[in-house]
């Protein structure tokens, strides 16, 4: 889809929180389908299906090593057939499940040869039905058919352009580019679909545009790039041109399930009245970030057992709505 000429960024307010401890434990990633079902992948292996109203629609998968189970799941994404693709870094396995948890296929061999995997983390299906996998301990990205046949791969251990150090999250942009959270290099790298280096974004640190072990990355139809800056407990937003735009540190309110739980538990209600509650709003080790077609941003808030949701508000602008880019900043506003 062609990009608009420009954007009026009207806001990006916090929308709501879904999930709670025991419902969505240690969430590592989420996927959102066209029916607005949110698939929350927990580190212990279960996938909890939540509605946007925070109703539990079902739980599929679960912990274990049998087919359809997960030991150390990392990433979940919907493929073009609307099936769920899940990586497991303990089993070196990629599993495709229906939304009801039926196993469609599994594949993955441990090792370092072409097509083999050593701790696969991020998975990102593209529009053609291929699947990119962040092959963490081989420090590379590999592209497979949906059935797991090797197509191509790139990357080696290092910190130069195009090199990787324990990559984690992956995303495919709407134009087919591949974005990788280059975890141990504290940056995001963009590649062509064939693996040619396009650019790197970020460096180690806690300032604007800096990262501390970024785990997740995604893009949206405006070309914006979102990075789960895990070690800094935040998500950062960048424009397609790598300009730092905004950050999200967490604004959580109690989810519906959390409110229902608290209304029947007198002691924790008193303890909450004695405590400073501000920290409870904040993100703790967010390990991923995803956006749906409506511009809602979902952040699995790993250490707080929930998903925080924000709503992107932008108005597309035509040439009459925004002047051409300027070479330099200016203080003149009219």
């Amino acid at each position: 889809m062609p990009r608009p000429h420009g954007l009026l960024r009207a806001g990006f307010p916090y929308l709501k929180t879904i999930g709670m401890r025991r419902v969505t434990n240690t969430p590592v990633d989420v996927a959102i389908d066209g029916d607005e079902v949110v698939y929350v992948l927990g580190r212990a292996g279960e996938i909890t299906k939540l509605s946007m109203e925070d109703d539990i629609l079902g739980v599929i998968a679960g912990g274990g090593s049998d087919e359809g189970k997960f030991t150390w799941p990392v990433s979940i994404a919907l493929d073009r057939d609307e099936n769920l693709v899940v990586s497991d870094e303990a089993l070196n396995r990629i599993t495709t499940l229906t939304k009801d948890g039926e196993v469609v296929r599994t594949w993955g061999d441990p090792g370092s040869a072409e097509g083999q995997l050593d701790r696969p983390a991020g998975v990102a299906p593209d529009a053609e039905g291929h699947v990119y996998v962040a092959d963490t301990m081989n420090h590379r990205i590999q592209k497979f058919t949906a059935d797991g046949e090797y197509i191509l791969g790139w990357g080696r251990h290092g910190s130069a352009e195009g090199e990787l150090d324990m990559p984690w999250g992956l995303a495919v942009g709407d134009e087919g580019s591949v974005y990788a959270a280059d975890w141990r290099n504290d940056r995001v790298q963009k590649f062509t679909p064939e693996g040619d280096f396009v650019f790197a974004l970020g460096a180690g640190g806690s300032g604007e545009g800096q990262f501390r072990r970024p785990a997740g990355v995604t893009t949206d139809s405006d070309g914006d790039i979102y990075v789960a800056d895990t070690g800094n407990n935040r998500v950062q937003q960048f424009s397609e041109e790598r300009r730092y735009v905004d950050r999200f540190i967490g604004d959580a309110t109690l989810s519906k399930s959390a409110r229902e739980y608290m209304l029947s538990n007198a002691k924790p209600n008193r303890l909450r009245e004695m405590a400073v509650l501000e920290p409870q709003k904040r993100l703790r080790n967010p390990r991923s970030v995803k956006l749906d077609a409506k511009g809602r941003m979902f952040i699995p808030d790993y250490m707080s057992f929930r998903v925080q949701v924000y709503q992107k508000e932008v108005i597309p602008l035509g040439p009459s709505g925004i002047i051409p880019p300027l070479r330099s900043p200016t203080l003149q506003v009219t």
Binding site: M20, R21, R22, T26, R43, T71, W72, E89, A90, W168, W183, R184, R213, A215, G231, A252, L254, S255, S257, A258, Y261, M262, N265, K267, P268, L271, R272, M274, A275, V276, L277, P279, Q280, R284, N285, Y302, M303, S304, F305, R306
Partner: protein, 462 residues
């Protein structure tokens, strides 16, 4: 390299750390003993455990209470004495999960021990007195002006610094009053979004600011004053030194008996006490004297390994879990089955150590654990087998026994154990790697020999 150097260095690395791989051992033994001690005393010379990798793979898991990640640290740290001192203070300042069920503050307490464990005693006691896990464990959050709760004051004197017989009941009451108002912030409760930290807070409204007399000093004494006075008492370093001796050198009777039974090595206690005062109460200086003393060097195999030491030592021997893998919780479970549930000691007295680690059940657990971990496909076992022959194609039974005992420790065994190992070696006909078939058979025999060594009585001794 002289065998004596290897054995002495292995002893040091077992006691001041959690054992070593053979490669680490040979590298350390090639250096001056005192230089190795200095490296142990200065953890800042070495990188910390890779916490990013631990966080990425282990994450945060309440079910393990942090015990498994801690064991992983013990097995993988390049700062072994720093970690061993954290374990030492956990033994002395025993705080348990069972009361608070609040793992994040317990983990923070261990972090504090890691951070200040080798600094001066007043700093250590001050940090301890301000530690939310400890404050809750000994009810100091209930210690208010006019309504004192004496639990913390009592244990501070009885178990944490001076020992029974060195203060009066009146001193104890005054100490408790001085710590009134030392409490912690209310953490956000577990549900619905997980545990949150707490931090120390001083509540002046709850503090008893009146005049107090403590160990001969009078004034409007605060908790800080109490700690300063304690640190200056001759009984204090003697008590801490005895704890150190029991933990690092040789088993002493259990703490409640210390007021009636003298230390087994009074000279060692005197030397550590002198270092304590000369250095301005610094633990690092006390430890330097300890590790360089003849009493330490001559105390090989005179202590029963704690479960944590046994488990981490075996992990080093078999060479697994050098990087986070699923299932590591099983090792925390193993120490628990052997009688040491880390972060959950049975009482404020901590674990009863020495021979009390061993009973019919726990010995079974220890031996089964060690034997089950020794499998021929593990990297450390493969190195052991390669080291046995050192490139030769065969090894006669007597050398098989000697080399096995050397490479597994070295382990010093008695006649009975040696006879058993020799019997096995002779029955199996030694080792031969001349053909593929012999090689396969000998690999199994060598692994079996290592299993017999780790199953021995002597292997239970540090």
């Amino acid at each position: 390299m002289a065998d004596g150097r290897i054995a002495l260095t292995a002893h040091l690395l077992r006691r001041a750390g959690f054992g070593a791989t053979r490669e680490e051992l040979e590298e350390a033994a090639a250096r001056d003993y005192e230089a190795v001690v200095e490296d142990l005393l200065h953890p800042e010379r070495f990188p910390e455990v890779d916490e990013d990798v631990m966080g990425r793979y282990f994450g945060w898991d309440i079910t393990t209470l942090g015990a498994a990640p801690w064991l992983y640290r013990m097995a993988n740290t390049r700062r072994p004495l720093q970690e061993k001192m954290a374990l030492f203070w956990h033994h002395v300042f025993a705080t348990a999960y069972s009361k608070s069920e609040h793992p994040v503050t317990l983990n923070r307490q261990i972090d504090t021990f890691r951070r200040v464990g080798m600094s001066d005693l007043p700093t250590i006691l001050l940090e301890l007195s301000r530690d939310p896990a400890m404050i809750f464990w000994l009810d100091n959050n209930e210690n208010h002006r006019g309504e004192p709760n004496e639990n913390y004051g009592r244990e501070l004197l009885e178990l944490f610094s001076m020992g029974v017989g060195n203060y009066t009941e009146q001193d104890l009451k005054m100490a408790a009053r001085a710590f009134t108002g030392w409490t912690f912030t209310q953490p956000i409760p577990l549900y619905p979004h997980g545990h949150y930290q707490s931090s120390f807070v001083y509540d002046p409204e709850a503090h008893d600011d009146s005049e107090k007399s403590f160990l001969g000093e009078t004034g409007r004494l605060t908790g800080e004053d109490i700690i300063d006075i304690i640190a200056r008492q001759p009984a204090t370093p003697r008590f801490i030194a005895r704890h150190l001796y029991n933990f690092f050198v040789a088993d002493e009777p259990q703490v409640p008996a210390w007021s009636v039974e003298p230390p087994r090595d009074p000279d060692a206690i005197d030397a550590m006490t002198a270092a304590y005062f000369e250095s301005g109460f610094e633990m690092r200086s006390v430890l330097r004297v300890l590790f360089n003393s003849d009493s330490f060097k001559n105390a090989r195999h005179r202590k029963v390994k704690s479960p944590a030491e046994l488990v981490t030592g075996i992990l080093k021997l078999v060479g697994t879990h050098r990087f986070p893998q699923p299932g590591f919780e099983a090792y925390a479970e193993a120490t628990k089955m052997m009688g040491q549930e880390l972060l959950n000691p049975p009482t404020v007295e901590g674990w009863h150590t020495g021979k009390e680690w061993i009973d019919g059940g726990t010995l079974n657990e220890r031996v089964n654990f060690a034997v089950n971990e020794v499998a021929p496909d593990k990297p450390g076992v493969q190195s052991f087998i390669a080291g046995l022959t050192s490139g030769k194609t065969s090894l006669p039974p007597d050398e098989m026994v000697e080399r096995s005992l050397d490479l597994a420790g070295p382990v010093a065994v008695g006649k009975e154990t040696r006879a058993g190992l020799t019997r096995f070696a002779e029955t199996s006909g030694g080792l031969s790697f001349a053909t593929e078939e012999e090689s396969s058979l000998s690999t199994a025999k060598a692994a079996r020999m290592l299993q017999l060594v780790v199953a021995s009585r002597e292997y239970q001794l540090a």
